[in-house]
Amino acid sequence: MLSLASVSAGYGSFQALFGVSLEVPKGEAGGVIGPNGAGKTTLMRVISGLIPMQEGVMTMDGRPVGGLPAHRMVEQGIAHVPEGRRLFPRLTVEENLRIGAFIPQARARFADQLDWVYTLFPRLKDRREQAAGTMSGGEQQMCAIGRALMSKPKVLLMDEPSAGLAPLVVQQVFDLVRRIREEGLTVLIVEQNVQQVLDVVDRAYLLEVGSIKLSGSAAELKNNSFIRQSYIGL
C-alpha cells in the first residue's frame, strides 16, 4: 500500500535520510526502530509531506505521491499522529476531532467518523467539551489518534505514541494500536520502545544515522542478537 524507494531528505544543507526504502502492505503494521537522532521523525515527516523529499520515489496504492505538500497528502489517505501529540490545546476535544475531518471528503461523513472514534475511545466522548490541553497524557494520545482517524485514512503514521507516558499508560497506548489494527487499518509506527513495538507490528526496520541497517519480520528482529544487545538490553 505505502512504498518508499531510495528516499533521501534533509533540512537545508543537512541531510537526514539516505536512500531509505520500505514497504507497508495493506492491512499490515510496520515499525521503524532506532536510536535518537537516527532520522525516524524526519522519515515520518517526509511521508506526510511536512518535509519535502529530495530524491526517491514514494507511492500509495502504486500511485506516485512524493513531493505533495502535507495538506494534499491527507487527501491521498495518509494521516500522521505527530510526535508529542500536538493537539490544539485550547480547542475542545470535539473541535480537535472536527479539524481532523477538514478535507472535503471527510466533512461529508463527519458524523459517522465521529461515532466510530467515540466507539473506539469512549473516554473522548465523556470529555468532548473539555479543552484538549487539560487532559492527561494518555487521553491526549487517544485524542491525537482519534483526530488522525477522522480523515478516514488508509495509512496511519504514528510517531513515538508512547513517549513521555507513564508505564501503565504506555501499555494502554499499545493496546490502542492493536485495536486500530483490528479495524483493518494499515499502520506505520516509529518507536524507541523496541520490545513493545515488536509485539504489535508485522515487519520492522532498524534506522541508524539516516539509513536502514536491518529489516525483517518482527519475530526475526526480536531474535536478532544485535537488536537484542543494543535495543532490548538482553
Binding site: S48, P69, A70, H71, V74, R90, L91, R147, S151
Partner: protein, 284 residues
C-alpha cells in the same frame, strides 16, 4: 453619581465598541499570521475615503456604499497580504515591521497626493438622543450595536465553521495544521480578508462620527495597538475587554481634566501595567 460623568462613561462605552472591532481584526491577523499590521488604522482610512466618495460624491445609497466599502477593504486586505506580508512571512520580525510600517507611510502619502489634506465629512447628521437628561450620540450608539453584532458574527464563524476552527487551530500550532489537510496559505488569505472586512466595517462606523483625512489613522492607530498589547497580543477576548477598559480611562480622565490629559493617563496606565504584567492583562 454625577450625571455628566455617567454621560461621558456611556458615550465612551459606545466608542469602545468600534475600537473593540479593530482590536479583534488586528489580533486575529497577528494570532494567525504572526505579523503585526502596523498600517491597520490606515487601511481603515482607505475604507473611510471609499465610503465618502461613494456616498457623498457619487450619491450611492448609504447601506450599499457601506457594503461596497467593506468588500473593497476586505479585498485590500488580501492584496496587502499577497504583496507585502507573504514575501516577508519568514523574515525577522524587524523586517516585517518595516514592511508594514512602510505601507503606513505609503498609504498616508498616497491619500495626501490623491485627496489633499482637507477634512471631509460624509454629511450624515444623526440626532443626539436625550435619555434621562443625558445626551447620547446616536451615531455612537449605532456604531456600538453594529460593532457588537460584528463581534458576535465573528465569534460564531470561528466557533462553528471548519474554516473558523482551522483559523483558531493555526494560531495554536501552525506547523502541523497541514497534517489536518489545512492549506496554510489559504487560511492566511481568508484571515486577511476577514481582518480587512472588520477594518471596512469600522471605517463605515467611524465615518459617521469623524471627518476623514489622510492622517486619521494616527488618531486611533496607536490606541488600538495599546489595546491589543494590553489585552495580550493575539488574545481576541483580552483585546475586546481591553478596548472598554482603555475607553473608560479616557472617558473618566477626560471628564476630570481634558482629552489630552486623558490620553496621557491611558498611556501611563498602559506603561505601568506593562511592568506588572508584561504579557498583557489577560495573558494565559
Amino acid at each position: 453619581m454625577d450625571i455628566y460623568l455617567l454621560e461621558a462613561i456611556i458615550n465612551r462605552i459606545l466608542l469602545g465598541g468600534v475600537l473593540a472591532l479593530l482590536a479583534l481584526g488586528l489580533n486575529l491577523i497577528f494570532g494567525v499570521i504572526d505579523v503585526v499590521w502596523i498600517a491597520y488604522a490606515d487601511i481603515v482610512m482607505c475604507g473611510m475615503y471609499a465610503l465618502y466618495f461613494l456616498y457623498a460624491e457619487y450619491g450611492v445609497p448609504l447601506p450599499v456604499a457601506c457594503l461596497i466599502a467593506i468588500i473593497g477593504v476586505s479585498i485590500l486586505g488580501v492584496v496587502v497580504h499577497l504583496l507585502i506580508i507573504a514575501p516577508v512571512l519568514n523574515s525577522p520580525p524587524l523586517n516585517q515591521l518595516l514592511a508594514t510600517g512602510g505601507l503606513l507611510f505609503f498609504l498616508q502619502s498616497f491619500a495626501t497626493l490623491l485627496f489633499g489634506t482637507d477634512f471631509r465629512n460624509i454629511g450624515v447628521r444623526l440626532p443626539i438622543l436625550e435619555f434621562a437628561t443625558m445626551y447620547i450620540s446616536f451615531a455612537r450608539l449605532i456604531a456600538f450595536m453594529v460593532g457588537l453584532i460584528g463581534a458576535v458574527v465573528l465569534y460564531l464563524f470561528l466557533k462553528r465553521t471548519y474554516i473558523g476552527t482551522a483559523i483558531r487551530a493555526i494560531a495554536q500550532d501552525r506547523d502541523i495544521v497541514g497534517l489536518m489537510g489545512v492549506d496554510q496559505r489559504r487560511i492566511y488569505l481568508v484571515t486577511s480578508a476577514i481582518g480587512g472586512a472588520l477594518a471596512g466595517l469600522a471605517a463605515c462606523l467611524l465615518a459617521l462620527q469623524y471627518d476623514v483625512h489622510p492622517f486619521i489613522g494616527n488618531t486611533f492607530g496607536p490606541v488600538i495597538f495599546m489595546i491589543c498589547v494590553l489585552g495580550g497580543l493575539g488574545n481576541m477576548i483580552g483585546g475586546f475587554a481591553a478596548s472598554f477598559i482603555i475607553s473608560q480611562i479616557i472617558a473618566i480622565g477626560g471628564y476630570y481634566s481634558n482629552t489630552e490629559w486623558s490620553y496621557v493617563l491611558a498611556f501611563t496606565f498602559f506603561i505601568v501595567l506593562m511592568f506588572i504584567r508584561p504579557r498583557g492583562l489577560f495573558a494565559r
